[in-house]
């Protein structure tokens, strides 16, 4: 397996190069540039043109690409035009809130989705099952920003229990930090909860007539033990795979939820940088998200192979 893992890790570099090149081409073919944003909406065309020249934005595309790739090879992601700081420093600051949000949202999804899936499978065909299935399907269809706004209105504006947005550093005030994470985690995690609920319900129902389950029951094993020791174990593989893939997708969902909930993560940085046409930051965030995606996928594959030894390691 170690050779397979090594091979996968080696493949990360070309993957990132391809992603980076696509990101470069997209950002540099977008209309609009940082000069116009920096000067404000009432700047004259001549002022914009002058600043474009000073920021070297009028250099040919190929020349800019080669310069960027050269710096990238040296581990330098460049300097943000707007923040006047290295892009890598910005990424380091912003990645922590995003990972915290993704983990918290995953916990919400597991905490809500797994019991709901089990409950639905145990009560299959009842009103409760249909309700859970309906809610699970609806949850996956709800847009994160819409849910975030509803949660803010309910818990921040009307009930006043939680802050409407923003974030307090963990070291400054751990309680306030946790409170600030609740609404974004719910907004991102609740729609996700529908996925494990549905997968788990389906997988558990498939297990009911399986030979080993029938034997376990026939031997007089209590239903709870059958569920925990046999049915859930078999359901873990597809559920983990789905959750792992979803975790990577959470990074994309974070762009919206972080913007609505004003959480200073990679998603918010990306949204603001697109608005400001801070090209190097956009490219840096996309590269960071791609790297995280690759690492998470690899981790999930390793987890799955650990959970189910039948998984063919050769595919690594």
């Amino acid at each position: 397996m170690s050779t397979g893992v090594l091979r996968r890790l080696v493949a990360v570099a070309p993957t990132l190069l391809v992603v980076g090149t696509i990101a470069f081409l997209i950002t540099h073919t977008l209309p609009g540039d940082p000069a116009a944003v920096m000067l404000g909406s009432e700047a004259t065309p001549a002022q914009v043109a002058s600043l474009r020249t000073e920021l070297a934005l009028d250099r040919p595309l190929g020349q800019r690409y080669l310069a960027w790739i050269g710096e990238l090879a040296r581990g330098d992601l460049g300097t943000s035009v707007h923040h006047d700081r290295p892009v890598s420093a910005l990424l380091r600051e912003r990645v922590v809130p995003t990972l915290q949000l993704a983990v918290a949202a995953l916990l919400v999804a597991v905490a809500v989705g797994v019991p709901a899936g089990i409950l639905a499978s145990r009560r299959a065909g009842t009103v409760l099952d249909r309700t859970i299935t309906l809610l699970a399907t609806s949850a996956t269809a709800v847009a994160g920003f819409f849910l975030a706004m509803l949660l803010i209105l309910l818990f921040a504006v009307h009930l006043g229990w939680l802050p409407a947005g923003g974030s307090v550093p963990l070291r400054t005030d751990p309680v306030a930090h946790l409170k600030s994470m609740v609404l974004p985690a719910l907004a991102l995690g609740l729609p996700l909860a529908g996925i494990p609920a549905r997968v788990l319900r389906g997988t558990l129902l498939d297990q009911i007539d399986a030979d080993h389950i029938v034997v376990a029951r026939a031997k007089g094993m209590p239903p709870r033990h059958v569920l925990l020791c046999h049915e859930l174990r078999a359901a873990l593989v597809p559920t983990t795979t789905v959750l792992g893939t979803s975790f990577a997708d959470l990074l994309g969902g974070a762009v919206i939820v972080e913007t609505v909930c004003n959480l200073p993560g990679l998603g918010q940085l990306l949204a603001i940088s697109i608005g400001q046409r801070d090209l190097l930051v956009i490219q840096g965030v996309i590269l960071a998200a791609a790297a995280l995606h690759v690492l998470v996928t690899l981790t999930v594959d390793l987890l799955v192979s650990g959970l189910d030894p039948r998984v063919d390691h050769v595919r690594f």
Binding site: G32, E42, T44, H83, E93, G125, A164, G275
Partner: protein, 565 residues
Amino acid sequence: MSSHCVPLGGAARSRRAGRLLRAATGVALLALVASCGQTTGPDVSAAPPQESTPPGGEQGTHEDADDRSSDDGLATPTPRHGGTLRVATTGEPPHLDPHRSTDTLVLLITGHVFETLFTSDAQHRPTPLLATGHEASRDGLVHTITLRRGVRFHDGSLMTAADVIASLERWGSMSGLGASLLAATERLVAVDQYTVEFRLREPFGTLPTALTRQLQPATIHPAHVLAESDRTRLAAPVGTGPYRLEQWAGGRPLRLVRFEGYAAPLGPRDGYAGARPQYLDAIEFVAMPEEATRVAALRAGDVHLLETVSPDQLPALTRDPEVVAELAGADVWLNLVLNLRSPVLERVEVRRAVQLALDHDAVLQAAVGPDAYTLSPDLLPGTADWSSDAGADRYHPHDPGQARRILDELDARGTRLRLLTTLARPPEHNAALVITQQLRAVGFDVELLVVDTATLSSWRADEHRYELYLASASFRPDPVMRNLTASAGGWWEDPVKESLLDRLRASDDLAERQELWAQVQARFHEDVPRIKLGDLRRVVAHRQELQGLGSTELQPDLSAAWLAP
């Protein structure tokens, strides 16, 4: 298969499931009610009219607040020192270099960090701030400005004439108005440490006005900081203002803290002039790009003041007893900029057809609602000195039949017009939708191009990209600050107008300048380089506990604001 799994005792469980379903439905309904509270409610007209009361006017006088009682015996609130004021902004500022930006957010923040030689009083006339006075020679070719002594920058260094000259030279290389002033200047001389002399080639009567608070202002920075800066970058945000930058990194709120070494100006508050008592310990600017989030944060008490909010939110805000939300005076105007370098619009007859096609009432109602606009030909709304009816006969003529006839005479029916707008500014976008329909109705073939702000900013500098775009002209206290030169968007080139503007800059006689400005305004409505649609009333929204907000037309100056317990 599932039938095997249906458990016994289903009736009791069904009841439990029913309760669960009812609870879930209740939560969903509550959430929906909450959302309805956000978006529905009485018409904007239900909001109490506040036009005559400036925001913060409840504090009454702009006076440096001390313990005092009003004539009717009611005690006025006593200002309280301390606290952190949180302002929700529409985004992060692109930078903190006031010389480099016409962005109102940059002015809002940097207005507390940097200061100008002059500022504006309540009548929008220049009043000394870092200067102590100004004298002009009889021929108007030598202007002498004396500086306040003992003014320190945030890094502890003393402000001197060398800093002022370095700052003005940098500002002059970046701002249009600054470039005009430096072009008229033969030499900038430091007579002594606290005296600066402008030796001019030609009179520039509006010199103190040009150096007041405005978008892209002539702020004063230490010469040693400017030596390390260039036109694309300010090395350090070091100013003389009442607050200094403490933090702006990592997505955290941009935080300004009280500058303990501040050399405060004296005198009662008068517009942006007078004392700046620094009641607040700190001011935080929190970037919240989503308007609904900003409104929710204000209502939840997470922030005290909104940088901006659309009139659509007024009903929900006025219903909240913890929030003060009011319409400010109409001092911003919405306009349709015409590309005069376009082969289509270079003909004044076609421009006139566009002018005749538009029903400004319909456009502005769609843009901001029925109570948040006024119609007037004024190009400097919100100022007493510059109000004029000049060009009123050409303003808002609205005659679609005549527009059609003009197009028929020119055989220009079906002429294609590309109209640029952005969803990021809903009033402009909504106005563009109505304008599109009105222009199509008279025979233009309009293509509406909805792009993001950065694209709009970039495309409007390209004469081949568009025929029309929507723009908001922010408040300007003096004609010299309203860029109507050929360098502005749309490229209005008119020698007569340029000559009028030159004379307007040179003169220091108010009556003469008013007459010149009226002529510029008349020419504007006649030549149709842009179509002024109407004046918009901004919504100013803040928490009840925020007091002493003062003037807001050039962004709030929070150095006299305070937080009630």
